[in-house]
Amino acid sequence: MSPEMINLIVQATGESLFMVSVAALLGTVFGLPIGVFLATSRKDELFAAPAVNAVLGMVVNATRSTPFIILVVAIIPFTRLIAGTSIGSTAAIVPLTIASTPFIARLVEAAIREVDAGLIETASSFGASPLQIVLKVLIPEALPGLVLALTLAVVSLLGYSAMVGAVGGGGLGDLGIRYGYQRFMPEMMLAVVVVLIALVQAVQSAGDYLARRVNRRLRHR
């Protein structure tokens, strides 16, 4: 494999990591509060607002059911508004964030719902406000689940990031399509796949390790 090809791979890996990490960060910033709200706003819950919960749930479902490649194209005007351009890795962060936010929100909702309702009652019984219950009880208790949720989101984002090549987003997927497929360079395709597999493995292992570290539930002396 030529030095030029290795250069291309390194550059594309950098672009992928950039897109994925920024999108994961923004997706968490937006998705975490939405997920917490979804998990605590049904009837008789902490922030009971069943109507808002239902509407938000529908919006989340709609976004999640739109195929990512269609989402990317459909929101080009919005992307241009936010990023100033609709091509390149920075622009790709916009659709990646919009796709990952509802995904992360649903995962966060599931993790928060796993927390024993008795703990909410307990905290209420000594006068904790709803916000204190979220910050001091729900999120810390759901942390192992939240770490695994985020890991899953990052892995999915790596897959999504391969698709933004279609609109000039760069990254490993783009490299694989343009060189490996269109220029018929199977060794380039193989290299891209190997790097992606290694990245997914690394992310999953790191997530699993971290989740175990923060999980006090099953640890014994």
């Binding site: 307990t122 019984s125 904790a128 204190q132 001091k136 006090r216 539930r217 014994h220 002396r221």
Partner: protein, 373 residues
Amino acid sequence: MNAHQALAVGEPIGAQAATSPGDAPDAMVRFEGISKVYPAYRDKPGVHALQGLDLAIARGSITGVIGRSGAGKSSLVRLINGLEKPTTGRVVVDGRDISALAGRNLRLAQRSIGMIFQHFNLLSSRTAADNIALPLEIAGWPKAEIRARVAELLALVGIADKADRYPSELSGGQKQRVGIARALATRPNVLLSDEATSALDPQTTRAILDLLASINRELGVTIVLITHEMSVVRQLAKEVVVIDAGRIVERGHVADIFTNPQHPITQSFIAEVVGDSLPVSLASRLRAQPVAGGQAVIRVQVRGTGAGDTLVARLAREVGIDVALLAARIDEVGGQHVGSLTIGIPGGEGAAQQVLTWLAQHQFASERLGHVA
């Protein structure tokens, strides 16, 4: 003291008694005309959890609220700390109408009411010390004061060496000690116990109840414990409230309730701990008809101070019959003896009648169970 006097001690009972918690002059918790209705929701019918409930719980007392599951105990205890609102009536805690409070005012009031739970409800992500610190963090205490208070509480409940353990590393009894320390952290006036020992083995239950008793004695904290186990009430409570189907069916001092239970529900609870069942070998030999050369089997209820101590000797002396002691069980509840003696009377029907007459004259409740060879 003879049996007659012993019974007289236990006489003023029932809802009108001067000693009942309902008439306590200085009430820590007062229920006034409380009813609680859970409205029908989707396919679930509405439930009248509590109906027309009036009750005062004296400052510094230990009151046991006992009832079968679904009797309304949980609703009752959750009305005290404002986790639930009454449908009608009001709940006054330490002079404050807690049922009228909401938002921040309610949260401030809740800090003076601690609660412990059947399943401990500790945060798995926090150590024992940090679990105890949680209500203090929520109340906005400074860090240094939290640290000092937590150390004090760990020592109070006897688990100072477990400060840095996570709940998954603690036994059930240790977890409940953490729960108790956490409930006491903000120096509450009232401690609510929601079946706090129901998930513990008998030995651990005893230790936890002893701890609660010493907390009541030394800190003067009013304790309200709800339970379905009369043994818990017997060991810890001074006052008993028996509820069934959302109503108070009986209340009074624990000794009065044990020595003279009025309501069938109360009687069934008492029977569970006093143990009216006969030994298996005796029960299997019991016959309905007299057995030639055998004994009549009579059970005598013992209620009161020292009432049963000399019963067998007095029968022998005063009636002139050598009675056989077949089975006996006497417990002490609130300083009163509660239990039963099962005795065998030889000498045919005449002797049995003599003994029954003597027992009736001396105010002992008794019944003939049958005959054995």
